[in-house]
């Protein structure tokens, strides 16, 4: 199907052409009426016609007409679906009838699912520790697999999702019992995916197998160093089996005799539980921590490690401005008034845009590697999408992964929508809303978007430039705290006697529309007046990203709130100080050890890393040693080429032992941490056999997929059947004016006129 249009361009458009034509016609008529030598009427008319024709052809060429042809073709495409089978040891154990879960899965696929996927191209895979390709599911049936193969479901998903996306696979059907024994957590999966996604449908393998009672903290993630006056975040993964649903497990985190955290959870239908513990650590020093689990007074598990709490200087923030914004002035003032935070301002090179004019000296104020290394928090304000280069995006990811935190501020739905689906959005805790079609929003939001668009665009024309009466600025909108998150330390200044003082909460003029938060993100503030599909619009959200944090503030810099508040009010200053302190606690300015878990498996090679922040020590100056009791062994570290400043090695711990890692400069210990190893590695695959359906449900929810049940309808597979038609639009443009006949016609007419003029002795 195609369409053709003629496009042209002339100064003044139609008015210009008509006006010029009239003027030329008048000129031609007058030139012949007032000519000094009279010629007969008919030759005069012919001459005039030649002149008119020639001039019209010239006007035609000036218009530059061209034929634009647009053709559209629709292509259909078969969806490609990956069928993935879990072939780990738990799937290969025989039940009472001599059948395995893997055989059950293959049978279910062939009899129930394959007939529903006739219009799909299928690719087959199997995984246990790693993913492998299959020609057909029948490969899995013979010969029988080894029984002690472990299951790395989360780790493999983190790898196969980006791989399948790249291959153009539209969805995954995964047959698994949901048991993961690799030690990976759900949070690790979401962090490493960083926004990448693919719809999954899980077909659980649920045949009953008997497992023995066991409980352990399979994994404990904790930083080895934190700053004083910050929150220590500990994530522990408890794995259990053979326990009765409803049994209560008491978990305590102690530092010596002090109980820093106490909580309970009930054994549910799954076989794992992830615990997120946040405890404030105020004083500097080495803290020896112990995490215990008990049930009915019986100790089930105990693990210990240490955390160095370091004295912190001022939290330093770096404000990077993409556009000149009055917010910078007010923020700088707030930081100048703070004893605990400091602010440096830097400008993007094109902060003043690309218009001609200002000789920009901004190159002296752009961000340097030293600026970034010395900053705990990077604030990106009023930045347009085109201001991020691929190198900048990479630097930002590395900065956050190494403990730096980012606060991304954007107050403008149009500018925010530019980031949707981009690498920048990947390390933010939210997804931005597309505003291409405003009709999907409620009337209030539509009106707001339209009015702010006009307000920002400043379309000011007309005679009334000297407006002497009061003008309208947009009214300020208040923050609202989410229910259940009233105790955030950021807004503690606004609380009195346990109640929030609404007047103390921030106000803003403009905000960006957020679609939704990402899995694992924490919402800290909402819009009090505007709602979306999921309730009040998100204004402030944070998420752990590597060792650092990414936060988004979807409002302006709140300077109008400051200017509208009495000068005695310190709410603006306190809000910013609290926010900066909250976000900047991740970065450590001293060397620190990095372990993936504070519980390590005996007999397994453990990667250990020493991170030396830029400007601190050189590795050659340090001696790195691992202690077990009084026995010491030197650890030789090599620099990681992908992560400058990070030095690593491996170590294989003995069972049931406690180790201390230290780095010395001379006799001074500059970095220290301790950890413990588990007992002899159990046959984990065979001890935890209860299918983890809740885990499969969480994984399905992450991707907008589902877990198949007895009652599932075949329409469930529409979630992995994308729009198969693609429309290809081809445009061609062909100029209509640069034809030889036009030039010959002009030349011919001009020559004919000259000949006739000569005949009548006008030349």
């Amino acid at each position: 199907m195609f369409s053709e249009t003629i496009i042209w361009n002339f100064p003044g458009g139609w008015h210009g052409i008509i006006s010029l034509s009239l003027i030329l016609l008048i000129l031609i008529a007058l030139s012949y009426k007032f000519s000094l030598k009279k010629i007969p009427f008919i030759p005069a008319v012919i001459l005039a016609l030649f002149r008119i024709s020639m001039l019209f052809l010239i006007i035609y060429c000036i218009c530059g007409p061209s034929m634009q042809r647009e053709s559209r073709t629709v292509k259909t495409k078969r969806p490609v679906t990956a069928i993935v089978f879990d072939e780990s040891a738990s799937m290969s154990m025989e039940d009472a009838k001599g059948k395995t879960r893997l055989e059950e899965s293959v049978r279910n696929f062939n009899s129930k699912i394959a007939p529903l996927l006739k219009e799909h191209d299928l690719k087959f895979y199997a995984f246990s520790s790693n993913l492998r390709k299959l020609k057909s599911p029948e490969e899995l049936l013979k010969p029988r697999r080894e029984e002690n193969k472990s299951t790395a479901l989360y780790k493999n998903m983190a790898e196969w999702i980006p791989q399948f996306n790249q291959e153009g696979i539209s969805g995954v059907i995964c047959f698994s019992d949901g048991i993961d024994t690799s030690g990976w957590t759900f949070k690790q999966l979401t962090d490493s995916l960083a926004g990448e996604n693919l719809t999954h449908i899980f077909a659980p393998a649920v045949s009953k197998l008997k497992s023995a009672e066991s409980f352990e903290f399979e994994r404990i993630e904790s930083p080895s160093s934190v700053s004083a006056d910050s929150l220590l975040q500990v994530t522990a993964l408890a794995r259990y089996s053979g326990m009765n649903p409803g049994d209560t497990i008491d978990v305590k985190l102690r530092a010596g005799l002090d109980v820093l955290y106490s909580g309970t959870f009930k054994v549910g239908s799954g076989n794992s539980k992830a615990l997120n513990i946040e405890i404030p650590l105020k004083e500097a020093g080495l803290k020896n921590l112990e995490l215990t689990a008990e049930s009915s007074g019986r100790k089930l598990s105990s693990n210990s490690w240490s955390v160095s709490v370091l004295q912190k200087n001022k939290a330093s923030a770096l404000l990077y401005l993409g556009s000149a914004d009055w917010g910078a002035r007010f923020l700088k003032s707030a930081f100048d008034n703070s004893e605990r935070t400091s602010l440096t301002i830097r400008f993007a090179q094109d902060i003043l845009g690309y218009q001609t004019g200002a000789p920009v000296k901004i190159k002296d104020k752009t961000i340097s590697a030293a600026d970034l290394a010395n900053s705990d928090l990077l604030i990106l304000m009023s930045m347009r999408r085109h201001q991020f280069t691929p190198q900048m995006e990479k630097n930002l990811r590395d900065y956050v992964n190494n403990g730096g935190s980012i606060l991304f501020m954007i107050a403008n739905s149009e500018a925010a929508a530019e980031y949707s689906g981009t690498p920048v959005e990947k390390f933010l805790p939210v997804y931005f809303e597309s505003i291409a079609s405003k009709e999907k929003f409620d009337d209030k939001t539509q009106n707001f978007l339209k009015s702010m668009e006009r307000y920002r665009a400043n379309i000011q024309t007309g005679l009334n430039k000297y407006k002497k009466d009061s003008m309208d600025v947009p009214p300020l909108i208040k923050f609202k705290l989410p229910d259940g998150n009233q105790e955030s330390d950021i807004f503690s200044y606004a609380f009195k006697d346990g109640k929030v003082q609404e007047n103390s909460l921030p106000s803003f003029e403009d905000f960006a529309l957020i679609n939704r938060e990402k899995p694992g993100a924490k919402i800290l503030a909402l819009n009090s007046e505007f709602t979306g599909d999921k309730g009040q619009r998100i204004l402030l959200a944070t998420q752990q990203f590597g060792k650092g944090r990414a936060a988004l503030l979807a409002t302006d810099s709140l300077w109008r709130w400051k200017l509208s508040s009495p000068s005695q009010s310190k709410d603006f200053d306190k809000f910013w100080e609290s926010l900066i302190l909250h976000l900047s606690s991740g970065k450590i300015h001293a060397p620190y050890w990095k372990l993936s878990s504070m519980v390590v498996q005996a007999g397994a090679a453990l990667p250990i890393r020493l991170v030396i922040p830029q400007g601190q020590y050189k590795i050659e100056e340090l001696q790195t040693v691992i202690f077990k009791g009084f026995d010491a062994e030197q650890v030789k570290l090599k620099e990681n080429p992908d992560s400058p400043g990070e030095y690593s090695s491996t170590f294989t711990p003995a069972p049931s032992s406690r180790y201390t890692l230290k780095a010395f400069k001379g006799t001074e210990c500059v970095a220290e941490t301790s950890f413990s190893s588990s007992g002899a590695a159990p046959q984990k695959e065979l001890s935890i056999l209860k299918p983890d359906i809740p885990a499969l449900q969480r994984l399905a929810n992450l991707s907008g997929g589902a877990v198949l049940t007895q009652d599932s309808d075949k329409s469930i597979f529409e979630r992995i059947t994308p729009e198969r038609k693609t429309e290809i639009v081809k445009r061609e443009e062909r100029p209509l004016w640069n034809n030889a006949w036009i030039f010959f016609a002009i030349f011919g007419l001009f020559s004919a006129e000259l000949i006739i003029r000569r005949l009548y002795r006008l030349l």
């Binding site: 000129l27 007058l30 556009s323 000149a324 009055w326 200002a358 530019e418 003008m471 509208s564």
Partner: protein, 246 residues
Amino acid sequence: MKPCFLIVLNIAVLLSAALIAIPSHTQQAGADDTVKAAAPFHWGRVKFDMNENVPDKWDIHPWSDLFFIKNLRKQTNINVDEKWHEVPLDNIEEMAKFPMLFMTADGSFAFSEKQKKNLKEYLERGGFLYGDDCVFGRDGDHFFKAFKAQIEAIFGQKMVKLPNNHEIYHCLYDLNGAPYMQGQNYGGWALFIGKRMAVFLTSGDIHCGWASASQIESGKSSWFNQEKSRQAVQMGMNIIFYSMTQ
């Protein structure tokens, strides 16, 4: 050729030239059609009463403010409303809509107690005030002296003269101190609240420099030469950028 024909011919040529000068219908007018990341700010001219009966009062030459704003928008992407607003100092809520205020006149003045209180409150909240002495054929420092005295009385501290190497003279354009059009050349003076510059005052009639630049652009005879007029506009842009980002 007959004279009337020549006249008609001239008119026709001029009309054609005018048509060509109209922007093409396929192009968008102006350079303001890009998405602005920052919200606009509004230009406020302070309204106040004079002690002297002078021709150039608080609202002198609003078109030169507009010319300056137009240049600011043309040469940078700073989002500023292209309107001129009067701001009385009797209403702190009105004042709080403007992150900066501009004040100029030729002649001395005095604030009322309420105006002093509001101005102090406005500046302590973070607002910025720029004052420039407008000069009309006299020794030209009545406004400067009155402004300086009033501000120093409000805050109980002296304004300081800025050295020529101060950031405000170099943040965008390099200027050798505050440009001087006419009147007294006292340079640029500032009042700081903490580390923040709250008030900036010039004596050299920079505002009329903007007016002169406007006259030059429209081909009329100007009050000052091109170099001085250009420096006046550059100084204005420096002031805006410095006060926004420091």
